[in-house]
């Protein structure tokens, strides 16, 4: 295959003696969705926060399009066209949709003042594409439903031409219909050549949306596999026992004894 869009090699980070991420290596190709799976506390969110600039890795190397980059802050990540949609919906509840969409990157008039009308116009445009039912442009996002809030967060990523999208449990707070909307959106973004890291607990979601998956346990990588090469039960075994099935490439966290016996 061509050069990966993202390579994270040998990433390590510890918090007060706990190795939250322990020599993990993952990659992501353009137009690909890679699911990251694991228990709570397995280290998947931490790994991804290194890529989005929220945490700084203790060691390891990040390559974007084959070139090494240093990501020390969310700003650095954005400069690499990495956008993150967080589980906790990183929106300022008291501001409206447009202010949130452009937070940190406001459109300004020539005099340097924030141009609210222009931002609202742009927001109306992009929301018309993503979620035509969205009408509450002046209400603080606190007053919006989970799906509407999520569409604001996704609109932020789409508007700023993300190349690499990180979605941390994007459907956790959503209803059936809204989940379907997000699924369609992911397919759409894939076609446009974005690479997407999808963190999820829902194995069904992962099989439906992802091309490959990577499983983590206790901060280590159990293994990676194409979704077509493994079954639901295989993946459950990886998550719960750390057992790497034949169809997957084992990582440092795979249960060694089992692979010998099996």
């Amino acid at each position: 295959m061509s050069t990966p869009l993202v390579e994270m090699k040998d990433m390590c980070i510890s918090f007060g003696g706990v190795r939250a991420v322990d020599h993990v290596t993952v990659d992501l190709f353009p137009g690909e969705v890679v699911g990251l799976l694991g228990h709570n506390g397995a280290g998947k969110s931490t790994l991804i926060k290194i890529l989005s600039g929220a945490y700084k890795a203790d060691s390891g190397e990040i390559r974007i399009n084959g070139e090494e980059v240093h990501i020390h802050s969310p700003r650095d990540a954005r400069a690499q066209n990495i956008e993150t949609i967080y589980q906790t919906l990183a929106l300022a509840d008291n501001l409206d949709a447009a202010s949130n969409l452009f937070l940190g990157r406001e459109l300004t008039s020539p005099l340097g003042f924030v141009d609210d009308d222009k931002m609202e116009a742009e927001t109306r445009k992009i929301m018309g594409r993503l979620n035509p039912n969205f009408k509450k442009f002046h209400a603080p996002v606190k007053a919006l439903s989970g799906g509407q809030r999520q569409s604001v967060a996704i609109a932020r990523a789409v508007y700023f031409n993300a190349k690499i999208l990180i979605m941390d449990e994007p459907t956790a707070a959503l209803g059936v219909h809204e989940t379907q909307m997000v699924a369609e959106l992911i397919q759409e973004l894939k076609k446009q050549g974005l690479g997407i890291f999808l963190i999820s607990h829902d194995i069904h979601d992962v099989f439906q949306l992802c091309d490959r998956l990577a499983v983590m346990k206790n901060g280590q990588l159990v293994g990676t596999a194409k979704t077509t090469d493994v079954t639901d039960d295989d993946v459950l075994g990886m998550i719960i026992l750390g057992k790497c099935p034949p169809g997957a490439t084992p990582g440092p966290g795979a249960l060694v004894d089992d692979t010998v016996v099996g």
Binding site: A92, G104, V114
Partner: protein, 429 residues
């Protein structure tokens, strides 16, 4: 859906009327409370409360606290608190007093025309630096704002004492004392010109905003609503000017003014005070702070950080440096307030600004600033300061006992917050 589900449906016509005007209902409530308060005091004082003279005095008494309250809005919106503003005011007042009575006269000579402005600048620089230093401790050293500024409350009060050796410094420079209130007013003509310019500016803003909105194809208010709003603001501005102009300069004082310039007072001539320079300063501060809050990135980040600090941080906002900026602004505004307070007294005293921190916080909170962060308005804080001051001087005029006055003020503060909480629950914002 939520509109129709409201229990005890309100008169739909009234709802549409206010909806069309797009007025802030909380602001309306505050203005309503203020008007009721004034009318009640007016009855109890046999009409002495709502005289031009008393309104004039109320405005100049409010200025110092109101200036600081606008800064306190930013501080509280970012989920911090500043307990040091009263003491900071004392330190800055002492610095300005020493600079203009001790240092500058030796360098420039007594009564030099530049003394007042240099003194004010020295004070503002000191205020901004002290504020920024406190902000740095809060933002970068992660010491809670409550602790840093509680320390500041003790430190700066006594730095002021130290600077002045406990003495009252004065008399202050004559030009300097003009920003204190009654000693410096614009006069009738200039006040009218200012009022007309303000009306023109507000009309222009309204037209420009409407034009911008329709150019983007957004829904705009109906024309009658725009006209109503324009009429209300114009009448409010011009009415305010008319009231301040209606307070005549006393005969004896007018005579002295004329004698000072070598003329005699013509028979039957009266002159109004007009807008005091201190009130003009407050208006400028209010406009600048409102523009910062609404039209700049700084303001946007202040509110975003207050609403969700993590989201702000993840959006690439440097929230630590933002804290420094917010406290530096607070320090600068405390310095301006110090200039007004010292100029009003004509001296810098040791106890200047004592308990001001509580008045300022109360003004911001009564004005709708939520201590949980993220919510607050500049005009609300100013109105809050005005309400506090009206309560206090109204009760003094009625002859309420001093202990009762403070009991009432404290009760009103708590009740105002309670009403605000209930209002937010009902409206859901």
């Amino acid at each position: 859906m939520s509109d129709t589900a409201l229990p005890g449906s309100k008169n739909p016509a009234a709802r549409n009327f206010f909806a069309a005007l797009q007025l802030d209902t909380r602001l309306l409530g505050m203005i309503g409370a203020f008007v009721v308060l004034c009318l009640v005091f007016n009855v109890f004082t046999d009409g002495r409360f709502l005289t031009p003279r008393n309104i004039f005095n109320l405005t100049i008494q409010t200025v110092s606290v109101a200036i600081m309250a606008t800064g306190m809005v930013f501080v509280i919106v970012t989920r911090h608190i500043d307990l040091s503003v009263g003491s900071l005011l004392a330190t800055v007042a002492a610095i300005m007093a020493v600079v203009q009575t001790d240092i500058l006269p030796q360098v420039l000579g007594l009564g030099h025309p530049a003394i007042w402005i240099i003194a004010i600048f020295a004070g503002i620089i000191a205020g901004v630096l002290i504020g920024a230093f406190q902000g740095w401790m809060i933002g970068y050293l992660s010491i809670p704002a409550f602790i840093v500024t509680l320390g500041g409350l003790l430190v700066w009060r006594n730095v002021a004492w130290f600077i002045t050796s406990g003495q009252t410094i004065g008399p202050l420079d004559e030009t300097f004392t003009m920003i204190g209130g009654i000693g410096g007013t614009m006069g009738e003509t200039a006040s009218w010109i200012f009022g007309i310019l303000a009306v023109a500016a507000s009309l222009w803003l309204q037209v420009a905003s409407r034009r911008r909105k329709s150019s983007h194809g957004f829904p705009v208010k109906p024309v009658w609503a725009e006209v109503t709003m324009a009429a209300i603001t114009s009448i409010a501005i011009l009415g305010f000017v008319a009231i301040l102009n209606a307070y005549d300069i006393p005969k004896a004082r007018l005579k002295r003014i004329f004698e000072a310039s070598g003329e005699t007072l013509p028979e039957g001539l009266t002159m109004g005070y007009g807008i005091p320079y201190s009130v003009l300063l407050l208006i400028v501060v209010a406009v600048v702070m409102t523009v910062i809050a609404r039209q700049t990135r700084l303001g946007r980040y202040i509110f975003a950080t207050g609403g969700n600090p993590d989201a702000a941080e993840l959006s690439g906002i440097n929230t630590r440096f933002l804290t420094v900026k917010v406290f530096a602004i607070m320090g600068g505004l405390s310095a301006l307030a110090a200039a007004v307070a010292a100029a009003r007294l004509g001296f810098s005293t040791n106890d200047i600004g004592t308990l001001d921190e509580l008045r300022v916080i109360a003004a911001a909170v009564i004005g709708g600033t939520a201590l949980a962060g993220g919510i607050g308005t500049i005009y609300g804080a100013i109105l809050g300061a005005l309400i506090m001051q009206s309560l206090q001087s109204g009760m003094a005029m009625v002859g309420v006992d001093a202990p009762l006055q403070n009991i009432v003020v404290g009760t009103v503060l708590v009740l105002a917050v309670l009403v605000d909480i209930i209002y937010r629950k009902r409206t859901g914002d």
